[in-house]
């Protein structure tokens, strides 16, 4: 009787909570066991509205396409034309974002310089100063001027081709940095004037200025020290892009670097990365509007970063008004970060290729985000540089392919009118029509 009764009660499928998912529960267990929040590298991993939610229309009767491989589509860009005596001239509008020696190994920094130079673009120092390797191998090197001022000195400043004053980065608007002791080798410590092996906290605010009026004076000082020769960029997190861009231009910036929340960091709290800031797609139009309102669009160049992966992203960023883009995480992948050839070793670290983000622990099997001498040996800077160059060239070709299809003989001739959006969110953020309509949320003269 009992057996029969049991057999007629249907079994239900175990049901997981959408709120308390396995991911969430594992985070709770980890916090309970360790007493510390999760720190990781990279940018936002959550699903966000992206450039994938936009499409190009291509040519039609009213727009003539250009012939691929026959008709030119230029890709060059000049950055710093407002005040600098020597603006930076790049062959392609894809630059390498700031990443520090310390977060990355010396050979990885060298590879970034090699790859960028071979592709005709610039690379950027990071929080930790300029290394001779990266200066030597970078035809055009942008020197970051950060709140920590680690490794900051006027000799290096004068060697730079541009200066980038970092106010924020997309992964952590309003946050400083922390390079954990594991990565503080003797050389890293010496460059930063700190003891070996201790955690290095990077301040979130600059130590000697506060607010836009001070920034104007700080920019003047840097220009005086470098004889007004090189461009001064201001790097902003995608927090309040309209107002921040306006204030940076008012303070005298030659170029704005604007970083969305998909932009990576060497290390910060996961909760910071995932819950502070705005997606790259959402920040470009307000920044462009600010430049247009000031009559400075294309005069103060806009470099957009945060999750740029391919030529389509490049083309879309430019069509929405950017002058160039910067890549960081994608460049690391091109060098070999998270490559499945190291799958066994990623497994030993409790992760898998493609998901490894504990860059701060310095155990990167690919030898890129580490200071471990044995792991570093695995990475060949010449090969890495070549891979990066290939990747940059492919991205450029992809962007040109799209631009030609839209009838443009320069990437900068792409425009918002070339785009439609696949989702309401993307339409609202990019201010381009929802596909199949002539409308987007917030379009002047319409209501929603």
């Amino acid at each position: 009787m009992d057996k029969r009764k049991k057999s007629i009660i249907p079994l239900t499928t175990p049901r997981y909570s959408a709120t308390f998912s396995n991911d969430v529960n594992s985070d709770i267990r980890r916090a309970a066991a360790t007493g510390i929040y999760d720190i990781r590298g990279g940018g936002a991993k959550r699903k966000l509205p992206t450039f994938d939610d936009l499409l190009f229309l291509g040519a039609s009767i009213s727009r003539y396409p250009l012939e691929g491989y026959r008709e030119k589509c230029e890709t060059n860009v000049k950055i710093g034309t407002r005040y600098a005596k020597n603006p930076i001239e790049l062959d392609i509008p894809i630059t390498i974002a700031g990443m520090s020696f310390g977060a990355l190994s010396g050979p990885a920094k060298e590879a970034l310089g090699r790859g960028a130079s071979a592709a005709g673009t610039s690379t950027t120092t990071g929080d930790g100063g300029m290394t001779p390797e990266e200066r030597e191998h970078s035809t055009k090197l942008v020197y970051q001027y950060l709140p920590s001022r680690y490794g900051m000195n006027p000799d290096d400043l004068r060697k730079a081709d541009a200066i980038e004053i970092v106010i924020g980065q997309g992964a952590k608007p309003g946050g400083g940095g922390m390079l954990l002791g594991q990565k503080i080798s003797d050389r890293v410590a010496q460059m930063r004037n700190l003891p070996t092996g201790i955690d290095q906290r990077s301040a979130c605010r600059h130590p000697d200025w506060t607010g836009p009026d001070d920034l104007e004076i700080k920019i003047q000082e840097l220009r005086e020290i470098t004889a007004w020769k090189v461009p001064v960029y201001v790097k902003l997190a995608g927090a309040r892009p309209y107002y921040d861009t306006t204030l940076a231009v008012k303070a005298g910036a030659d170029a704005i670097v604007l970083d969305g929340m998909q932009g990576g960091t060497a290390a910060t709290q996961d909760v910071f990365i995932e819950h502070v800031g705005q997606p790259t797609l959402a920040i470009v139009r307000p920044a462009v509007k600010a430049l247009e309102d000031l009559g400075m669009h294309r005069k103060v160049q806009l470099i957009l970063s945060g999750g740029i992966r391919n030529g389509a992203d490049v083309a879309k960023a430019i069509a929405l008004g950017a002058d160039a883009v910067a890549i960081g995480s994608a460049a690391l992948v091109a060098l070999g970060d998270n490559d499945p050839i190291y799958e066994e070793e990623y497994n030993k670290l409790g992760t898998t290729a493609g998901a490894y983000d504990d860059w701060h622990e310095g155990m990167d099997p690919a030898g890129i985000t580490t200071q471990d001498p044995e792991l570093i040996k695995r990475f060949d800077p010449k090969e890495g540089g070549r891979r990066l160059m290939n990747y940059l060239k492919v991205m450029t070709l992809e962007a040109q392919t799209i631009a030609r299809a839209c009838g443009k003989n320069h990437l900068h001739n792409l425009e918002p009118e070339d785009l439609v959006a696949l989702t309401m969110e993307a339409a609202a953020m990019a201010q381009v029509p929802l596909a199949g309509t002539s409308w987007y949320p917030g379009k002047p003269g319409t209501s929603y």
Partner: protein, 227 residues
């Protein structure tokens, strides 16, 4: 001595002339008149020259100085001698916020008082203040020596690394991870030398030393209240 009228010839012209001086220049003595609170005076010099500024200056006077001896016969605005690498900057009057910020070398002497955040993030510079300093001074100071003949404001040496702080007067409060340390003979010697270089007649034995308790050097959840 070459006299330069800042109001007449302009800032770019002054800094350009000073920055053109090299190691073995014969033009070793400069006087700047009519500074009238201008910003970025005598920044980015890299030569063993004397620059006397007759009056008060704005922000970043002597910024990133290398080798030069700069004297200001007046008071200075924020960020005097910021990121100085070497040389000497002497202020006859008072200094505003962030004096000597991130300085990596050389000697900054302030004969009056210095405002808040004096020596913030200092990385090897020596700073001697004849008067008092304001709050949050030597915040995240990494290395070098801050000597104060008067009093220090709140939160002295917050999040301090390896810089040494010597205070003769009262300390209103210590910042997180900053503590009083014993004075050893080498500290007396250091004080004697720096006080002499700063033309200060205070006696080394009148000072107390403060430094990092080094409890925040590696993250520990049990110290989370301090972060």
């Amino acid at each position: 001595m070459l006299q330069f009228d800042l109001q007449k010839h302009g800032l770019r012209s002054l800094n350009s002339a000073l920055q053109e001086q090299k190691e073995k220049t014969n033009q070793t003595s400069w006087e700047v008149i009519n500074p009238k609170g201008s910003h970025s005076i005598a920044v980015g010099i890299d030569a063993p020259i004397e620059v006397n500024i007759k009056g008060s200056t704005g922000y970043y006077c002597g910024g990133m100085n290398q080798q030069a001896n700069i004297t200001v016969k007046g008071s200075v605005g924020p960020g005097v001698a910021e990121n100085m690498m070497s040389g000497k900057v002497v202020i006859e009057g008072d200094a505003s916020q962030y004096a000597g910020a991130t300085g990596q070398g050389g000697l900054l002497v302030i004969k009056g008082n210095a405002s808040s955040r004096c020596g913030i993030s200092m990385k090897g510079i020596n700073i001697v203040v004849h008067g008092n300093i304001g709050h949050m001074s030597a915040f995240m100071a990494q290395s070098g020596n801050l000597i104060v003949c008067g009093d220090a404001g709140d939160a002295l040496g917050d999040s301090l690394y390896e810089a040494k702080l010597f205070i003769r007067g009262c300390v209103k409060s210590l910042g997180t991870d900053c503590e009083q340390k014993e004075m050893r003979p080498e500290h007396m010697d250091l004080l004697k030398q720096l006080l002499s270089e700063a033309e200060c007649d205070a006696k080394p034995e009148e000072f107390k030393r403060y430094g990092s308790a080094r409890k925040l050097y590696n993250f520990n959840i049990d110290n989370s209240d301090a972060y």
